[in-house]
Symmetry: C2
Subunit: 193 residues, 2 copies
């Protein structure tokens, strides 16, 4: 259950057996069904969620009622509304499961206690926030400079594991286009193969 987390942390910082065991004690493992909400608009995001297996998504609903997927999360990823979590403000996002999933949850208080007791994890979380920030700036660049087809190709490259797991209309929403447009783009691409 915690193997993946260990590998995940060790990719960024080194950690001893003892420290890791201590670290684990702050996480709450949970199994989730399909279509289960972890966060809804208006709530305050109180925890970071590490994904062991399955697939989750984070999305907003705009004033016209359209759904916009901000990010997906599969195994070895974190998911949370970082803005709500960091600034302790009501979220504008939803987070739910696309499939049966296994996750490790880390409550705000647990995380703070954990960082006090294992200070090297401060560094780990700083790196995590940087990665989030980098990913979001990259998305801005993409949406300014690439066509829908280019964005789809770049999505395939960046998240190959997602393509098989996520319904097509959710990918369309992530790319900022309609399911119909994505269908046509895929048709064009398969012509060229």
């Amino acid at each position: 259950m915690f193997d993946l987390l260990r590998k995940h942390i060790e990719k960024r910082i080194s950690i001893s057996n003892k420290e890791f065991k201590h670290c684990c004690s702050f996480f709450v493992p949970r199994k989730l069904r399909k279509n289960q909400f972890l966060l809804q608009q208006g709530e305050i995001c109180k925890r970071l969620t590490f994904v062991n297996s399955g697939c989750l998504r984070e999305y907003t609903v705009d004033h016209k009622g359209n759904v916009h997927i901000i990010q997906f999360a599969i195994n070895d990823w974190w998911i949370a509304d970082m803005i709500s979590y960091l600034s302790i403000s009501p979220s504008t996002q939803y987070i739910d499961t696309l499939q049966t999933s296994e996750v490790l949850m880390l409550e705000r208080e647990s995380r703070e206690k954990m960082m006090q007791e294992i200070p090297k994890l401060e560094r780990f979380f700083r790196i995590l926030l940087e990665k989030k920030y980098i990913a979001s700036v990259k998305r801005i660049n993409d949406s300014l400079s690439a066509t829908a087809e280019e964005r789809y190709l770049s999505f395939l490259q960046t998240y190959p594991a997602l393509v098989e797991q996520v319904p097509q209309h959710d990918i369309a929403s992530y790319l900022g286009i309609t399911p119909q447009s994505l269908s046509r783009i895929r048709k064009e691409l398969s012509k060229k193969h």
Copy 2:
């Protein structure tokens, strides 16, 4: 020269006269001409820049040669390629001045020394990074859900001071449209007034 910085910091944390004076010693004030580069693609962003007066911009040039403005900075703002700065990696961005400007520069080493000697500033910079992150997520949402006209109106609301200072084609680039399109949008809006 440092008055604005003081107000800027005090909006986020409280700071004594003595601490602030100490803090100032880490900054290097500089006057910049129009069209001067602070950062070019391939360099590593080594400093954070606080703007006292004037106007700067951060932009990329994509593989098609198109310019995309990521952000503007006028007085009371910071500008830097945070990704390059944080991960100490070559920047993909440019930063230059749109006008004669007065800035305060804070080198990486100075900042680190400053945070060691005045630890409460750690908190200040954490808040700064959060704000940056929030702004970038907001831009993703906008680019997914709003039309060019809506994005322009929202730009006017968020950055009223910029509209008079920045050439129109730079605003267009920020919004992700051509100068011609922006011109037409403005025409439509003035019809409705």
